[in-house]
Amino acid sequence: MKLIVNTFGTQVRLKQEVTLESASCTLQQVLEALRKEHGAALSRFLTDSGAPVEGVAILINGRNMLSLDRYGTMIHDGDELTLTVQVAGGSE
C-alpha cells in the first residue's frame, strides 16, 4: 500500500509517498516498517522500537492515534500519517 507521510519538526517535510508491502496493517506494524526503512530520516520522531519520542504526536488522517485505537489502529492504502512535534499556539 501507499501512504502519505508528513513530518513536522526541525525539518518540515510534506506529502512524502511511502510504499509498504502489505495491503493494510496496524499502526504498530507501519511504524516498525517506517523505522526500518526510513530510520535515519525519522530518528527525531521514532525510537528504535518504533514508538514516538517524547513530545511527538502521530496523526492518522488528521486524528491523533491516541483518540483512535492507538497502535492497533488499522492503516489503509492512501492514508495520511503525520508525525509532529507538539508545538503550541499563535501569539496575540
Binding site: 511527538v56 496523526l59 508545538v87 499556539g89
Partner: protein, 609 residues
C-alpha cells in the same frame, strides 16, 4: 514582596493630576499580578455600567512579579480595561520594553482615567511623569509615532514605547496598542480606549528594577532551562519555524479557518503560507527582551508589488486569518497586510476575521460594490483585503460599519448575516475551527473576553493529545485546567509559549517565583489563585449584565456541518455546547446560570466582593 514595588501610578488625564496608589501586599499573595491583579483592581475601581469609551473607563497597564526579572519570557505586560468591543472584561497581552521599563521607574503598573483636552502622550522617567502635547503625532501611524518619540529621546534601544495608530484615534473597536513596532496588545479594542482618552503614546525610561531575592538562583534556573530547550525537539522546531508551524498542524487536524470558517483545510496554503513558505522568506530570528527562546521570525516579501516589505511576523494567527480564511495564498500580500495593520493599529486577528465576514456577505449578494464606494471585496483578492483594512482603520465610507467589528457590522447589515459572523460576545474568533475540536468551542463560549485563544489552547489536547475531538465528554475539566494554567502564567506575568515547548511546568515557575520574590508557593497554591481570579472576572462580567446566554457560539459553529477535512460532517450542536457549559460551570463552583455559589465565594475569599 520582592520583585514588586507595591504601587501603581495613577494618571487622571482630565485634571492632569497624578498620584501613587499603594497595592496592598495581600493582593500579590491573592492575585499574583498581571491578569489576577487586573481582575481585583478593575472590579474594585470601575463603577458598574461605565461606557468603555467614556472618560470614566479605566485603562490599566500591568506587570507581574516576574516582569523584568530575567525569567525567560518575562517582558510581558497586560492591558486591562472594559472592552468597547464586548462591553465586558478585557485583558490584552503584549511583549514590549515598556513592561520592563515600568518596573524600572518603580511601579508595578499604571492606571489611566479621564480624557485629555488635546492629544497627549505620557513621558515617565525616574524624575516623574510629564503629560506632553501630542498634536504633532495625532494622525500619524504607529511606526512613525514610535520613530519620532525614540528620536526625541536620543536613544533607540531600551526605551519603552507604546502607541496607537489612526484606528485607535478613530475609536475603531478592533484597534490595538503597539509596542516596539511589531508587538501588539491586540484584542478587545484596547487601542480605542486609549484613543478615547486622547492618549497617543506612552514613553518610559527607567534605571533600576525591583529587588530580586536570589539573582544567582535565577541565573541558574535560566541556564538549566536553556539546556532543556536545546535538547527539546519541540523547542528546537519552534525556534526554527516559529508559530507558522502551527498552520501545518491545524491544516492536518482539520481546524484551519478557511473561507470565513466555511471549511477547515486548505491545501493551497501548503509550502506557500505555512512554515515552509514563511521560512523561505526568513531574514532573521528574534527574541523578546528577557527571553532566551528566539521564536519570532523577521521576514521579507520576496516578490511582486510588495517585494522588500519587512515585518516581524507574520505569526500563525495572521497567516490563518489573512491567508486561508480569505483564500489568499500570497505571502507577500499577508506580510503587507500585517505591516498595514501594525502601522494603522488594527488587530490582525479581528481584521482578518472581519474581512472574511465581509467577503462572505459579498459572496451571498448581501453586500455589493455599491455599498463600498465601488470596491468589490472577494475571497482570494488580496488587494481588496488591503483596501478594507484602510477603510476600517480610518472609518472611511463603509469602513465606519466595519470599524464596529463583526458583531456590530452584522447587526447593521442584517439579513441573517450574524449566522456566519464568527464572534463570541463581540470578539472575533482566532484561527481555530471549533467544529474540528469541540473544546475550542467551549473555550470560546465561556471566555470572559469573547472568543479567545490565549486562555486555553485546546488543540494541544484534541489534536496533539489523546482527547477525542468531536465530543463534549471531558471537555469542561480539560478547559478548566488549561484556563487555570494560563491564568497563573498570565498573572505572574510570563509568556505562555516557553512553558509549553521547553516544556516548563507550574513547579518550574514556582521555582522562578521563589528566586524572584523569596516566597514559597506550590502548584496547588497557584491553581487556587487561578480559580479565584477566573471567578472574580466572572463576577465582573455578571455585574456588567452578562448572563449564560452570552456564553454561546455562532449559528455556523453550532448547526452547519463541516464539509471537508478530518471533521467532515461535524458541528458542535446545542446539546453538546449546553452540556459542556453545565459541566464547566459545575467544576468552577458556579451554579447553572453561571453565578458563583456562596461556598465558592467563601472558598476564594470573595464573599465581600
Amino acid at each position: 514582596m520582592k520583585g514588586t514595588h507595591g504601587k501603581l501610578l495613577e494618571v487622571d488625564l482630565t485634571s492632569g493630576k497624578t498620584r501613587d496608589l499603594p497595592i496592598p501586599e495581600e493582593y500579590f499573595h491573592g492575585y499574583l499580578g498581571g491578569r489576577g491583579l487586573g481582575a481585583r483592581l478593575l472590579f474594585d475601581m470601575l463603577p458598574q455600567g461605565v461606557d468603555p469609551l467614556s472618560p470614566e473607563n479605566l485603562l490599566f497597564f500591568l506587570t507581574g512579579p516576574l516582569t523584568g526579572s530575567m525569567t525567560t519570557g518575562s517582558s510581558k505586560f497586560v492591558v486591562v480595561t472594559k472592552s468597547p468591543a464586548t462591553r465586558g472584561w478585557c485583558d490584552a497581552y503584549s511583549s514590549g520594553r515598556i513592561a520592563v521599563q515600568l518596573k524600572k521607574v518603580g511601579y508595578d503598573g499604571m492606571v489611566i482615567r479621564g480624557r485629555a483636552n488635546e492629544p497627549c502622550y505620557l513621558r515617565i522617567d525616574d524624575q516623574g511623569l510629564d503629560i506632553r502635547d501630542a498634536r504633532h503625532l495625532w494622525g500619524k501611524d504607529s511606526f512613525e509615532t514610535e520613530h519620532l518619540l525614540r528620536e526625541a529621546e536620543g536613544e533607540t534601544s531600551s526605551l519603552g514605547v507604546s502607541s496607537i495608530g489612526p484606528a485607535g484615534e478613530k475609536l475603531v473597536k478592533i484597534a490595538c496598542i503597539n509596542s516596539d513596532f511589531y508587538r501588539q496588545a491586540g484584542r478587545g479594542g484596547v487601542g480605542a480606549v486609549m484613543g478615547s482618552k486622547q492618549l497617543k503614546a506612552i514613553v518610559i525610561k527607567g534605571r533600576e528594577g525591583a529587588e530580586i531575592h536570589d539573582r544567582k538562583c535565577l541565573v541558574a534556573l535560566n541556564r538549566e532551562n536553556y539546556q532543556r530547550a536545546l535538547v527539546s525537539p519541540v523547542a528546537q522546531a519552534r525556534m526554527k519555524y516559529g508559530t507558522p508551524l502551527t498552520l501545518n498542524i491545524t491544516h492536518s487536524g482539520g481546524i484551519l479557518p478557511t473561507k470565513n470558517f466555511q471549511f477547515s483545510t486548505w491545501a493551497k496554503a501548503l509550502e506557500k503560507i505555512d512554515s515552509v513558505g514563511v521560512y523561505k522568506s526568513l531574514k532573521t530570528h528574534k527574541s523578546c527582551v528577557s527571553c532566551f527562546v528566539h521564536c519570532s521570525l523577521v521576514t521579507e516579501a520576496a516578490e511582486g508589488k510588495y517585494k522588500g516589505v519587512t515585518v516581524e511576523g507574520p505569526e500563525y494567527e495572521t497567516l490563518g486569518l489573512f491567508g486561508s480564511n480569505l483564500l489568499i495564498d500570497s505571502l507577500p500580500i499577508i506580510i503587507q497586510a500585517n505591516v498595514l495593520c501594525d502601522k494603522l493599529g488594527v488587530d490582525t486577528i479581528s481584521a482578518g476575521n472581519l474581512i472574511g465576514f465581509i467577503m462572505e456577505c459579498f459572496e451571498w449578494g448581501i453586500l455589493s460594490p455599491r455599498d463600498m464606494d465601488g470596491l468589490a471585496i472577494a475571497f482570494g483578492d488580496g488587494e481588496s483585503a488591503l483596501a478594507a483594512i484602510e477603510l476600517t482603520a480610518y472609518r472611511r465610507g463603509f469602513g465606519d460599519v466595519m470599524a464596529e467589528g463583526v458583531k456590530g457590522a452584522a447587526a447593521h447589515i442584517g439579513q441573517t448575516s450574524e449566522r456566519f459572523g464568527m464572534q463570541v460576545k463581540g470578539l472575533e474568533f482566532p484561527a481555530y475551527e471549533p467544529r474540528g475540536a469541540f473544546g475550542s468551542g467551549l473555550s470560546y463560549a465561556v471566555s470572559p473576553r469573547g472568543a479567545c485563544h490565549r486562555r486555553a489552547w485546546p488543540p494541544a489536547k484534541e489534536i496533539l493529545g489523546g482527547y477525542p475531538p468531536y465530543t463534549a465528554e471531558g471537555k469542561a475539566e480539560m478547559i478548566r485546567q488549561l484556563y487555570d494554567d494560563n491564568c497563573v502564567l498570565h498573572s505572574l506575568l510570563v509568556c505562555d509559549m516557553p512553558g509549553k515547548f521547553i516544556p516548563l511546568s507550574l513547579d518550574d515557575y514556582a521555582n522562578y517565583f521563589q528566586a524572584v520574590t523569596g516566597e514559597t508557593v506550590s502548584r496547588q497554591d497557584f491553581l487556587h489563585i487561578a480559580g479565584r481570579v477566573e471567578t472574580l472576572i466572572r463576577m465582573f462580567n455578571l455585574r456588567e449584565g452578562f448572563t449564560r446566554k452570552d456564553d454561546t457560539l455562532p449559528y455556523r459553529t453550532l448547526f452547519e456541518p463541516l464539509p471537508d477535512g478530518p471533521a467532515r460532517g461535524q458541528c458542535v450542536g446545542e446539546a453538546n455546547l449546553n452540556r459542556m457549559i453545565d459541566e464547566y460551570y459545575a467544576c468552577r463552583g458556579w451554579d447553572a446560570a453561571g453565578v458563583p455559589t456562596p461556598s465558592t465565594l467563601q472558598k476564594y475569599d470573595l464573599a465581600n466582593s
